[in-house]
């Protein structure tokens, strides 16, 4: 959610129950402004909160002028001091995908993962148990990256693409209409498109190249991994992800208010197919 409309956004996203306590809210308002100034970001988003056993991580993201450029992620333990996280590399992804369980809450905590590796010594080949240490910070980067790629969403029309390349916030976006808001196809993944080129030519002909340049939610696997609800009597549409429980996207139809927030344990719900 945009840091500028933080209070309203928190109020709108409160249907999922998890929010922020007043002191966190107050410290966020001030510290995010300073982050924006110091790092010279165009927009700062409050991404959410990852619950750990000992402490929680508060995550924010900074965007530059081009909305689809890779975002910079910052984390904080007390909503006042923010540290920049490195961008996710493939090595990090490979390493951290084996770690399971809750987050500890201590960024320097190291997970131990035992792997069997084949070691060649001379002519013999035998397997050795190698203990790999994975820092929690790395895991944090990985989880945030996964969640962003999988479930960060934007309503259709909120961003538009200029012929020169960069994506901009659409200033004439006035919100989705009520009938559009209930359809999954009116929401896009907030990331570089992956499946667009797989569409048939007929489908592509209907797309507006300045608005429809991202993947929509319609073809997410598994089907039914999004729950769309109208809250507050049709004045607020809330999408909750079932794949990453804790991600809530809200939008008030016919207004410019929208945003998403993740408050959860940072674990993927692998049991989703059983639960539907």
């Amino acid at each position: 959610m945009d840091a500028e409309s933080l209070l309203l956004s928190l109020e709108l996203a409160s249907g999922s129950g998890q929010g922020l306590s007043p002191d966190r809210r107050a410290s966020l308002l001030t510290s995010l402004l300073l982050v924006k100034r110091d790092y010279r970001y165009d927009r700062v988003l409050f991404w959410g909160r990852i619950l750990g056993l000992v402490a929680d991580y508060y995550i924010a993201q900074g965007l530059s002028e081009d909305q689809l450029a890779p975002r910079k992620t910052l984390y904080s333990l007390n909503c006042t001091e923010w540290s920049l996280l490195p961008p996710a590399t493939e090595e990090m992804v490979a390493q951290s995908s084996v770690v399971k369980g809750r987050f500890m809450g201590d960024p320097s905590y190291e997970y131990e993962h035992i792997e069997l590796q084949k070691v060649n010594e001379g002519e013999k080949v035998f397997e050795e148990e190698v203990v790999i240490q994975i820092k929690e910070e790395t895991r944090l980067v990985y989880v945030i990256d996964q969640i962003d790629k999988a479930v960060a969403i934007i309503p259709r029309g909120a961003l538009f693409k200029t012929p020169f390349g960069p994506t901009h916030v659409n200033r004439t976006f006035e919100g989705l209409s009520l009938s559009e808001a209930k359809k999954l196809s009116s929401y896009f993944h907030f990331r570089e498109p992956v499946e667009l080129k797989n569409k048939t030519l007929l489908e592509k002909a209907d797309l507006d190249p300045s608005l429809d340049f991202m993947d929509s939610l319609e073809h997410d696997v598994p089907k039914g991994s999004w729950s769309i609800q109208m809250e507050r009597g049709n004045t607020l549409v809330v999408l909750r992800s079932l794949l990453w429980p804790g991600l809530t996207f809200y939008h008030a139809p016919r207004t410019r208010n929208y945003g998403y927030i993740y408050v959860g344990t940072g674990e993927k719900n692998m049991d989703l197919p059983f639960m539907l």
Binding site: S14, G17, Q18, L51, G101, R102, Q229, M230, N234, L242
Partner: protein, 713 residues
């Protein structure tokens, strides 16, 4: 050339004014230039607009066609220097020579600006024509400059020429230009002053033509360009958006849409807003309740003491912990709870929490009825069970001939009585505050046992079926009730000492174990320091009974009942297996005794605020049931749940395996299959039989012989 058209649109007023002023200033001597200034700005605007449109090509190209007849170089060439010339040349031709160089040089920089006055074609056109004479005189001199202009002009004319081909009003334009041409012919041979008299009327006609063209309505949409542009500009001038030039297309679209949508307003809006209004009406009813219930005030006074909890206060504390539904939503829930307590005879009520679902959510209230209020439903269910039993027995009698299977389904464990164990409280749910509350049925042990084995999302509709393996006995309302029971048993905690056991009642009530079921508030509870509550878990205790794996809180020994029943039916019985009695942790055990989940402690304790510890409260989060919270400020405490309603497990869910196939009949000689004898065996058997027969015959013969011999004697 579209790029040039947009700056024109924006700066038209200013540019036009400036251009006019500059023209006036520079050509003060020439009367024909001051005259255009006297024209109304609106018409000038039109002139600009027309010029802006691709229609301007029609001005240009016919001019080129017409001007060639003048014997001069191509008209378009002159047109671009033409506007410049009014600015820069004086009335006398002689300064035109140095002006040529000026013309040559500035066009480079003024290219865009040259287009602007270019756009003002109707106005400069007559001007050009009147100044044509000058230009025609210096045309030849201007060859260099002209070639430069020429190179520009075809570029300018290109797209316009295309649209020119589609022009409908070509003829009209030609007429205009014929007129102008004739005038310019006239001008050529006349001094400048003579041309000025003709210019205004020509200008007027061209302007009027342009305006008429703009007012022409589109055959498709019924709009006309004049109105659309004026609406658009009005909107821009009213709203003054920043960087309007960047969003000009969107603004134009919006104006068009606004124009159309009025017709459909009545229909569309009604459909969309109906559900919103419905909910708003229902919630308004909530707010109005206070006034309607004036009659029952006495009754209310009695109940009000205990029944309605202070939801807002608990919500405030939970907000400190970062948990909550938002103030106005909580207030609506508060009012809905009040409605619940007013319509039902409720002793005590609590806001239990919110369970999220796929289509709709559930708001759950935990309720304790007053004595003797809710026994009717229990009887109905018993009747149903008896009927089912009788039917199954009847079926068995008919099929007596077949070998009876010795399978006996494990006897259903009867559910606990209301007000005890898992059914201690009654739960009401609603989807949204304002909607009617629905009572959930009491939970049976079988439902709890199976609920432990499945993991399903709630849809939000209470009558939705649960399709799972093992098959869940019931629909979503039963599953919901089972999960609520499990969550309550697992996560409802209170500070140590808040509740104490009832003094003598507990021991008398119990049957076998002697665990105590009842507890009551401790009037002497003095509160525990918040710091202590956070530091160790032993200061918190469960105050809801643990549910055994049987599905009940109080152990039910199904073995005993089996013995009683079997005496009635068959005498053959296998020995009843000795089932060990399950024991769970007794009530009011501290939560430090809770099992860890692999390496994770079952509870996480926090202070709500690190910055101001003296007023902070202790917050407990359950790691076993994510979404269960409890807070205490030392004296008060409250439990709350908000989440999807599932337990946390670090491993993935694996559905249980179906049981092995049951051996239906005991194997015995009657039903055991035997192999048919093979060919060799049959032959051997036959041979053996024949041998026996032969032997038997021989025996008979010898016997007969013996008999005959005896007879002879």
């Amino acid at each position: 050339m579209e790029e040039s058209t947009s700056p024109k649109q924006e700066k038209e007023n200013q540019e036009l004014g400036e251009a006019r002023r500059s023209w006036d200033v520079k050509t003060a001597a020439s009367p024909q230039y001051s005259e255009p200034a006297s024209f109304e700005p609106l018409e000038a605007k039109q002139g600009l607009e027309t010029g802006r449109q691709s229609r301007s090509s029609r001005y240009w190209s016919p001019q080129s066609g017409a001007r060639t007849s003048l014997g001069g170089s191509a008209g378009p060439e002159t047109s671009s220097p033409a506007p410049l010339s009014p600015r820069e040349s004086s009335s006398t031709p002689s300064p035109l020579a140095p002006a040529i160089q000026d013309l040559g040089a500035p066009p480079q920089s003024d290219r865009t600006t040259s287009v602007i006055p270019e756009a003002g074609t109707p106005d400069p056109d007559p001007l050009e024509q009147s100044s044509d004479k000058r230009e025609s005189t210096h045309h030849t001199n201007q060859s260099d400059g002209n070639t430069f202009q020429q190179s520009q002009q075809p570029h300018l004319c290109g797209p316009r020429a295309v649209s020119y081909k589609n022009a409908n009003q070509k003829e009209l334009r030609f007429d205009v230009f014929q007129e102008e041409d004739s005038n310019s012919d006239y001008d050529l041979h006349q001094p400048a002053t003579g041309g000025s008299e003709v210019a205004p009327s020509m200008l007027e006609t061209t302007v009027q033509n342009a305006k008429a063209y703009l007012l022409k309505t589109s055959s498709k949409s019924g709009l006309n360009l004049y109105d659309h542009l004026s609406n658009m500009l009005t909107k821009i001038l009213d709203e003054r958006p920043e960087n309007a030039v960047d969003i000009i297309e969107n603004i134009s679209q919006d104006v068009k849409m606004a124009h159309f949508s009025k017709k459909f307003d009545a229909l569309q809006n009604e459909n969309e807003m109906l559900p919103t209004y419905e909910i708003a009406e229902k919630q308004k009813a909530l707010f109005l309740q206070v006034h309607l219930e004036g009659v029952d005030q006495e009754l209310e006074d009695e109940i009000v003491e205990n029944a309605l909890p202070n939801v807002m206060e608990s919500a405030f504390y939970f907000e400190q912990a970062g948990v909550g539904l938002g103030t106005d939503e909580t207030y609506r829930i508060f009012l809905a709870l009040k409605q619940l307590t007013d319509t039902h005879p409720i002793q005590r009520c609590r806001f239990w929490g919110k369970i999220l679902g796929l289509e709709m959510n559930y708001i759950v209230a935990e309720v304790e009825f007053r004595e003797g209020e809710d026994e009717e439903e229990v009887e109905e269910e018993d009747v149903d069970e008896e009927r089912d039993n009788r039917e199954s027995e009847a079926d068995e009698d008919e099929e007596d001939e077949l070998p009876k299977s010795l399978y006996k389904a494990p006897q259903a464990i009867p559910k606990e009585e209301s007000r005890t164990g898992a059914n201690k409280y009654v739960y009401f749910v609603c989807n949204e505050p304002g909607r009617p509350w629905v009572k959930l049925p009491p939970v049976t042990p079988a439902q709890i046992v199976i609920a432990r084995k499945i993991k399903k999302f709630f849809t939000g509709r209470l009558d939705a079926p649960i399709i799972s393996y093992p098959p869940f006995p019931g629909n979503e309302s039963n599953y919901l009730r089972a999960q609520i029971a499990r969550i309550s048993a697992g996560t409802h905690v209170s500070p140590l000492g808040f509740y104490q056991f009832g003094e003598e009642e507990g021991e008398e009530e119990e049957e076998v174990e002697g665990s105590q079921n009842s507890f009551e508030e401790n009037p002497d509870f003095e509160g525990i320091q918040v710091i202590d509550l956070v530091e160790t878990l032993s200061n918190w205790v469960h105050h809801v009974q643990h549910i055994l794996s049987q599905g009940r809180c109080n152990w039910f020994n199904s073995v005993q009942k089996n013995e009683e029943e079997e005496e009635e039916e068959d005498e053959e019985k296998e020995e009843p297996d000795y089932i060990e009695q399950e024991v769970g942790p007794p009530l009011l055990t501290p939560i430090s005794e809770d099992l860890e989940i692999q390496n994770i402690p079952p509870w996480t304790t926090r202070l709500s605020s690190n910055l101001i510890p003296q007023y902070a409260i202790a917050v407990l989060q359950s790691n076993l049931w994510p979404g269960a919270y409890a807070f205490s400020n030392g004296k008060k405490f409250e439990n709350f749940y908000i989440g999807w309603g599932h337990k946390y497990s670090p491993d993935n869910y694996t559905p249980p395996v179906p049981p092995p196939v049951y051996q239906e009949y005991p194997s015995g000689p009657e039903i055991t299959e035997m192999d048919d004898p093979g060919v060799e065996e049959e032959q051997a058997f036959r041979a053996a039989q024949e041998a026996v027969l032969l032997a038997a015959e021989e025996n008979e013969e010898t016997e007969e012989d013996e008999d005959e011999e005896d007879d002879y004697d």
